[in-house]
């Protein structure tokens, strides 16, 4: 059985490099609920390396589990949850390995123990997945260098997801690329090639096969010639520029001239360092680490840009254009040659910086250059969200519906972590009082908050299979991004409302 074939539909998203990361990834799932089981299912199917389920030996399959949990069978009532879930999840894809760790006493007590870091080999895992923001787990991951924490929750029609990871350092963000074609500031070889073509001397057949980039470039030269060397800037200038192209068109069906016109606005997109990349350059000052590949590459990029008139290295890519194969390949060759030169220069900068002689493969460097315009970097907060000052700082003084959902979850979480049970409607006044104490009169409780809290409490802690599946799906997508280091992850908190089918993101500062 071929893995390429089995995983074909996902390899098209994250290629073999992402797949290899996934197959080497290890996750520990703490005391599963429906949402976190769904999350694990969505990682095991595509071939997660290993998962461990850590749970109290007291937790067994109940009648309630039977009523909404697909990952058990009726005859498993009363058996250990950890064991049943582990074997039923593993059955989904035998490529994953698994382990069960049962602890004595409650999960709360276990996680609250002073020597938590010694009680389990946490650092041998890449991710810890849990349902609640156990303060001790958050403290724990602070001390671990390569382990992150994902908290996923689902109650009533609502869900939350939070990622605790020290930083995101992404290269392959799969952003929609605006190719840098350097038409406003071409280099010599490109200009020479363009100059070697005399549009007027061509017959109609040849004229209609000139790639549109050359037409645009020639029109730009013509515009500059007419305007004392100035580039078109204002909207009216661009119209003049477009009129030049239009004027050169010999026949109505010259597709290449149509392409030159329809793509003419793209030329003016700023091609130098985008704002997000500039912020990453700015982070070099505080965050540069000469032993970290990402930072070495970023610093080499900064040096490259500074010594190349603000230009990023060329990626060598050009869009498809109506033209003969020969014309297209010649043009492509010119862009590729420039890419190779930029690559050599970049490698020179990298080598000078790389005092620790960390090994880079050419593939790694090429991948970095091709994605350099759209790198992603973010640092995350490790602060607990159930801290009123943080809450106020982020949310202002009026509680919106989303903020009401978040606050409700925090209050229920606090209650759960203290009493090991999820409150229900009979506890609503107690919960409202706890909320008032928490808010300490800094934010007023709104009617929306009471409605949301009511909606959550009335379900008596029961998960709705659909909402848990949505949250497990979202959580798995985020983990896949964190594992494959591709696309852009959530940064760092999400709330989902399944009544209106809407979501909102928050960044905890």
């Amino acid at each position: 059985m071929s893995k390429e074939e089995k995983y074909d539909r996902q390899l098209r998203l994250w290629q073999s490099s992402g797949q290899s990361n996934l197959e080497h990834s290890r996750i520990v799932l703490v005391s599963p609920n429906l949402a976190s089981l769904e999350l694990m299912k969505n990682l095991i199917l595509p071939g997660l390396g290993h998962f461990t389920i850590l749970d109290s030996e007291e937790n067994v399959i109940t009648e309630e589990d039977l009523s909404n949990n697909f990952y058990i069978t009726e005859d498993q009532l009363g058996l250990s949850k950890a064991e049943v879930f582990a074997s039923n999840l593993n059955e989904l894809n035998l490529d994953s390995t698994h382990e069960v760790v049962k602890i004595e006493g409650t999960v709360q007590d276990f996680l609250a123990s002073d020597d938590l870091s010694d009680k389990f080999p946490w650092n041998s895992y890449d991710f810890i997945v849990a349902n609640w923001q156990f303060p001790s787990l958050i403290d724990l991951v602070q001390g671990l260098s390569n382990t992150s924490l994902i908290v996923v929750n689902s109650l009533s029609f609502f869900g939350t997801l939070r990622i605790f990871q020290k930083s995101y350092k992404f290269i392959e963000t799969h952003s929609e690329k605006m190719l840098d074609l350097r038409l406003l500031n071409p280099w010599k070889e490109l200009t020479d090639y363009s100059d070697s073509i005399d549009l007027e001397a061509l017959d109609l057949q040849e004229h209609s096969q000139i790639p549109f980039l050359i037409i645009q470039l020639k029109a730009m030269e013509e515009y500059k010639r007419q305007h004392g060397g100035e580039l078109p800037k204002a909207y009216s200038d661009r119209k003049v520029y477009k009129a030049i192209i239009q004027g050169w068109k010999k026949s109505y069906d010259e597709l290449n001239f149509d392409e030159a016109l329809t793509n003419s606005n793209k030329i003016f997109n700023p091609q130098k360092v985008p704002e997000d990349l500039q912020k990453i350059f700015d982070s070099l000052e505080g965050d540069f680490d000469a032993k970290d590949k990402y930072w070495l590459l970023v610093k080499a990029l900064k040096i490259f840009v500074d010594s190349n008139d603000g230009n990023l290295p060329l990626t060598g890519e050009i869009p498809d254009m109506d033209s003969t194969t020969e014309n297209y390949m010649t043009l492509k060759g010119i862009y590729k040659d420039k890419f190779s030169k930029d690559l050599t220069n970049f490698e020179g900068h990298l080598q000078e910086l790389n005092v620790n002689e960390i090994k880079f493969t050419t593939d790694e460097i090429v991948k970095f250059i091709k994605n350099s315009k759209y790198l992603y970097y973010s640092k995350l907060s490790s602060k607990l969200i159930n801290n009123v000052d943080l809450f106020i700082e982020d949310f202002g003084s009026e509680l919106s519906e989303f903020q009401s959902i978040i606050l409700s979850f925090i209050m229920i979480e606090n209650y759960y972590l203290q009493f090991n049970t999820i409150p229900s409607l009979t506890d609503i006044n107690a919960l409202l009082n706890i909320t008032k104490l928490f808010l300490n009169n800094k934010i007023q409780i709104t009617e929306t908050y009471e409605k949301v809290l009511y909606e959550i409490l009335r379900v008596e802690g029961k998960e709705l299979a659909n909402i848990s599946s949505i949250m497990g799906g979202i959580g798995a997508q985020e983990l896949l991004k964190l594992i494959t280091l591709q696309y852009k992850p959530l940064d760092d908190f999400l709330v989902f409302d399944g009544i209106r089918s809407v979501s909102e993101r928050y960044k905890i500062k």
Partner: protein
């Protein structure tokens, strides 16, 4: 021990603060949920998830239609299937699996086309959830359900919930025929398959895709007369791959791989379990709200994108007066 409704009851026994004023919770709602007949179209990536969710959220009378058999490349997300099921009809294996897991749930599979069934068949359902992978099939069911509407009979209005995914993105649409925008009304928001001009693929190939298109559409029929190109036959794929490589070499084009050949000819859309999970559950969440009235339903489109962080966009798509299917009804 059998499966009960313990986890679902609290949702239906009390009334939330967001529910419609006229809504009355209680046993009748639970009865409506367990007796409501629901149809699932497609037992693939979305379909497997939908069947699991419906069974886990209290539905008991489910039908499923799918015309495909199980393939190895399904197993990375279609979690009701195992290696030993390869080659068997998806609808049948999926129904067997869910009924084995959830005793008391009745799932009737049909291995065949949507078009095999008549109006009377579709008229028996309250809700239809579509997890189809073809635009044509979606248009067909949309048209059928719009035609079923009898203005004198409220029960003739069948809710159509349509899910679709591609990579990290997806969308859910809730269609109430003749009351909201129908699938056809929203057709211009859907992009079709990429096509290349004939002159490019025959005379001026520039991309590896151009070479593959040439070999599959021109060279194959020339050298294989009556035999159709079958991309599920490894020998055919090998032939196509080798010929495409040769043509690309002739023109100095790089980048032909076996995987690209398959992708271009089969028009493969990337698919993962997690996106299917999100969209299928969103569809089932709407079905649950429709059947129980326990909370308001989606009006009427939701788009999800996980490419760049998490992004959802919910909006009411307007009906089109000149819609060829529901316009004027």
């Amino acid at each position: 021990m059998t499966r009960t409704n313990i986890a679902i009851r609290p949702y239906l026994r009390t009334k939330g603060k967001f529910a419609d004023e006229e809504y009355e919770p209680g046993e009748e709602v639970l009865y409506a949920l367990t007796t409501s007949k629901i149809l699932v179209l497609g037992a693939g990536g979305l379909g497997c998830e939908i069947l699991k969710n419906l069974a886990s959220s209290g539905f008991k009378e489910i039908h499923v239609i799918d015309m495909d058999t199980i393939d190895l490349s399904n197993l990375n997300r279609q979690f009701l299937f195992r290696t030993q099921d390869i080659g068997r009809p998806k609808a049948e294996v999926a129904a067997e699996y869910v009924m084995k897991r959830f005793k008391g749930v009745n799932i009737i599979p049909y291995y065949g086309k949507l078009q095999d069934k008549d109006e009377a068949y579709y008229a028996q359902f309250q809700v239809v959830i579509s997890g189809l992978d073809s635009i044509e099939a979606r248009r067909w069911i949309n048209n059928t359900l719009v035609n079923l509407v009898d203005p004198e009979d409220a029960s003739s209005v069948k809710f159509l919930i349509d899910g679709g995914t591609e990579g990290f993105r997806g969308q859910t649409k809730v269609i109430i025929p003749t009351f909201t925008a129908c699938y056809e009304c929203s057709l211009d928001t859907i992009s079709g398959q990429t096509t290349y001009p004939m002159c490019t693929i025959t005379n001026n190939p520039r991309l590896p895709e151009h070479c593959i298109e040439y070999v599959s559409t021109i060279e194959w029929p020339q050298s294989h007369k009556d035999q159709k190109l079958d991309m599920d036959d490894p020998e055919h794929v090998t032939w196509l791959h080798e010929r495409s490589l040769a043509r690309a070499k002739e023109f100095g084009i790089e980048g032909i791989t076996r995987s690209l050949c398959l992708g271009v000819v089969k028009n493969i859309i990337p698919a993962i379990a997690s996106t299917n999970a999100i969209i299928a559950a969103s569809c089932c969440n709407e079905a649950f709200k429709i059947v129980t009235s326990s909370n308001p339903i989606l009006e009427n489109f939701m788009m999800y994108s996980g490419n760049d962080s998490v992004f959802t966009y919910t909006f009411a798509y307007e009906r089109k007066d000149d819609c060829p299917v529901c316009g004027g009804l």
